[in-house]
């Protein structure tokens, strides 16, 4: 469902400042863990991952079965040669994910953030098809349609609703992520 109010502050990456340290991903995992501590999240809850280790396993369910869980970070550092940039959900005013969602599990909340009813997502991946920002990944640990093989739910940035500043921005050592109001989307002004 579309909400009526656009998000004011969003997370913007500054690629010239990114040093490819992946702290944003670590911070994100910890913030969305049960214990909200580094050691607790990685060693007790086993949210840890090794991206290289997981390479070659494209199905999160298979990775999970093999004891190599895919990361559940909601931001993602993209790299090529010497360039790196942390990307995540744009919390669009007219979200392609919500327009594609096949059962209304995705919605805009009263702050305009794109959120997920986690108990309603059926894992059809229409949102992954829709999102031009590549901001959505698959979480195989929650299954609402267990009869469907390789079921899971989608996973994307929620702007850390319990925090004033999202954790990725807070932990970034070089201020390569900023949380600010850059005005309204072009189409809103039209």
């Amino acid at each position: 469902m579309l909400g009526s109010k656009p998000v004011a502050r969003k997370v913007y990456p500054i690629e010239e400042r990114c040093i490819n340290c992946h702290m944003c991903e670590v911070g994100c995992i910890v913030e969305h863990s049960q214990t909200k501590t580094l050691l607790g999240a990685y060693q007790v809850e086993k949210l840890s991952f090794n991206r290289e280790w997981s390479l070659g396993i494209v199905e999160p369910n298979e990775a999970l079965e093999q004891g190599r869980p895919h990361p559940l970070n909601r931001c993602l550092v993209e790299t090529h040669d010497t360039l790196s940039i942390s990307t995540n959900c744009r919390h669009c005013d007219e979200p392609e994910c919500i327009l594609a969602c096949k059962n209304g599990a995705l919605y805009q909340d009263e702050e305009g953030r794109c959120r997920l009813h986690e108990d309603r997502c059926v894992g059809c991946w229409m949102c992954i098809m829709g999102c031009s920002y590549g901001a959505i990944n698959r979480n195989p640990t929650v299954k609402n349609v267990p009869g469907q093989e390789n079921n899971g739910i989608q996973n994307h940035c929620d702007l850390c609703p319990e925090r004033e500043i999202p954790m990725c921005v807070y932990v970034c050592p070089t201020k390569a992520l900023v949380f600010e109001d850059r005005g309204r989307a072009v189409h809103e002004v039209e």
């Binding site: 396993i57 790299t79 327009l99 059962n103 229409m126 349609v145 009869g147 989307a185």
Partner: protein, 426 residues
């Protein structure tokens, strides 16, 4: 419209109508909204019918919006009511029960109706012949499954194959017949189709191609078999016809509203009749790759057309940018996403990545340095990146070799493209 609030009437209760209502509410919090829909159910997802039939989907996931949705957006639902006529001069619609409803702005989003091909002898003589596009079809099939061991389905499109999966999950032997030589020819290329065929075989679903139903046979209202055009016979006790849907546009007959294959709309989703808009499977919007207007019966297109219709009905001025064909499917738990015309390789460069051990197949079709189509099997992570590259015809010649390889990402693309996406509000 000085003096009084605009009355918005939306015919339909699925994606296009819902997003139209929500867009209207962004611009107009006062004007009354009325939904009129033929089906009596609360708004539900047609894309979850087979999971429902299979018994996989819990009830909570099939409803598109909360129970108090209409109240929350101050709308009046008139469900289980069918519009039979649109009278533009009187600005009113007439319902099957004789009542009429007047409007200031009207949206037609009736969707599609299953097409029953002519020439299947005896099809109207049997009870257990079904189509599969509505929740009522699921309930009817569910109630009729008792005593059925074998089912014959006509049509290897998405509806036919999903129906097959749903019925197979209920332990029945299913055979799916298709006149074309391959399944899902619009969404999948032959390699991706081969992977789907293998998954369906694993689920014991039998596929017959280059053939069609000639007759439904049986006695006393009970089906015993289907006779194929080739002369073969499929023993079965139930038949499902799933050869496709056609835009449901009967209600505009005689209204002066222009209809081609679907209802013809301009870039604001308005028909040739002032104040009447159309969106979703019943309408034809711009398809970007061909540059033509045609019905694209997929959810994101219906939702987006509905949203643009809503803005314009409420006095906004928004131009629908158009869409490309796009699909997300899964069979046997293998996810597939495709964009564009995936079999059109003439005069194109084709780049593939195949990992047979992992069941991964990825293909990109590039013409003049621009991405025209993509198929992704199993490795669907971040597929949407390709959607925008195709829609905006971005030049990808300097990274075309990398596009389908594992690890391709935004850092391979031009900085100005990345900046457009990530440095300004969307």
């Amino acid at each position: 419209m000085a003096g009084r609030a605009r009355h918005y009437v939306l015919i339909g209760n699925s994606f296009a109508a819902l997003f139209a209502a929500e867009a209207i509410r962004r611009l107009d919090r006062e004007g009354p909204i009325t939904f009129i829909a033929e089906e009596p159910e609360h708004t539900y997802s047609r894309a979850l019918l087979h999971e429902t039939l299979a018994g996989w989907a819990p009830d909570r996931v099939i409803w598109l919006r909360e129970r108090d949705y209409y109240e929350r957006i101050s709308a009046r639902p008139m469900l289980g009511r069918r519009v039979v006529e649109v009278r533009p001069r009187e600005r009113r619609v007439v319902l099957a029960d004789g009542e009429s409803v007047s409007y200031d702005k009207l949206l037609i989003s009736t969707g599609g109706a299953p097409f029953i091909p002519p020439g299947i002898d005896g099809i109207d003589r049997f009870e257990k012949v079904f189509t599969f596009t509505r929740l009522s079809d699921v309930r009817a099939i569910d109630a009729a499954l008792e005593g059925v061991r074998e089912v014959a389905i006509l049509g290897q499109g998405l509806i036919g194959l999903q129906c097959a999966e749903g019925i197979a999950a209920r332990g029945r032997k299913v055979t799916v017949v298709e006149i074309a030589d391959d399944l899902l020819p619009f969404a999948l290329d032959s390699n991706a189709a081969a992977i789907v065929r293998r998954e369906l075989a694993r689920e014991k679903i039998e596929l017959v191609n280059c053939d069609t139903f000639a007759a439904v046979e049986g006695a006393g209202g009970k089906i015993s078999s289907v006779l194929l055009k080739s002369g073969g016979r499929i023993p079965c006790q139930m038949v499902v016809i799933a050869v496709g849907v056609r835009p449901l546009v009967g209600l505009v007959e005689g209204s002066g509203i222009e209809v081609d294959r679907g209802i013809v709309v301009n870039e604001r989703m308005e028909t040739n009749v002032e104040g009447i808009y159309a969106a979703g499977d019943c309408a034809q919007g711009l398809e970007l790759l061909s540059g033509r207007k045609l019905p694209l019966a997929v959810i994101p297109v219906a939702s987006t057309m509905g949203m643009y219709a809503g803005y314009n009905m409420a006095g906004g001025r928004r131009t629908y940018p158009g869409s490309i064909p796009l699909n997300a499917l899964q069979f046997g738990g293998i996810p597939i996403i495709s964009y564009g015309y995936v079999r059109d390789e003439e005069g194109a460069e084709v780049f593939c990545h195949i990992d047979e051990r992992q069941n991964v197949y990825k293909k990109a079709i590039i013409k003049d340095g621009k991405l025209r189509a993509v198929v992704l099997v199993k490795d669907i992570e971040r597929a949407g990146i390709f959607r925008r590259l195709i829609e905006q015809q971005v030049d990808v010649s300097d990274c075309k070799e990398e596009l389908m390889k594992p690890g391709f990402n935004f850092a391979f693309l031009q900085k100005d493209y990345r900046d457009r996406l990530f440095t300004q509000p969307q």
